[in-house]
Symmetry: C2
Subunit: 120 residues, 2 copies
């Protein structure tokens, strides 16, 4: 059985993946289709996206909802358990914004706006 030296390690096991926090932050704002997630995360590959989503699903923080139709449609959304992560994720997002402000006073230089993402 897995041993943790400090409880936060258990949290890292769930959200520690390279893209997991980003995925969860997007799902906080909205449930999303696979293609939407891909658009929102231009850097991620199909493989990684699926992989990270599967792991998050196994850990019970998000649900994969399949619509049986053609063309296929799949949406991902937080479970109740996933929502319990929101406070922590929120604080992290807020800190990220602050950190960008501090590091690059002209925020517009580093942040890809939603409108830009649309075009990708």
């Amino acid at each position: 059985m897995k041993k943790y030296n400090i409880p936060v390690e258990a949290a890292l096991e769930v959200i520690g993946g390279k893209w997991k926090v980003v995925i969860l932050c997007h799902l906080i704002k909205n449930e999303r289709r696979t293609s939407e997630l891909k658009r929102l995360m231009p850097g991620i590959t199909q493989k990684m996206l699926t992989q990270q989503l599967r792991e998050l699903e196994e850990d019970g923080v998000l649900d994969r909802v399949v619509f049986n139709q053609v063309p296929p449609k799949v949406i991902y959304r937080l479970t109740d358990y996933g929502w319990s992560l929101m406070p922590a994720l929120d604080m992290l997002c807020a800190w990220g914004e602050q950190h960008i402000e501090n590091t690059y006073p002209d925020k517009s230089e580093v942040l890809l706006e939603e409108t830009e993402l649309q075009q990708i």
Copy 2:
């Protein structure tokens, strides 16, 4: 210049390392000597510890304080900027504890207590 698609990526760049959150959580409770950190994180290697500490130092979230004496003594402690991460880290730790409770109702099975760590 680095581009972020979502602000939280900036936070992940700082605390995204494999051991960084754990290190920071320890430093929230106390400033620590190198050897103490090693003891608190039995799984980490000397190399990784130094590496992660250096990166955290570069990002300005912790200070490395060297005492010029023999034998050498170095302590690490959060900077003011590092303390600004505390709310997020706290929430994460709390969630980790909850997650352990939920996953393994008998918490004592999975958590290495401080007393056990002393002996390592």
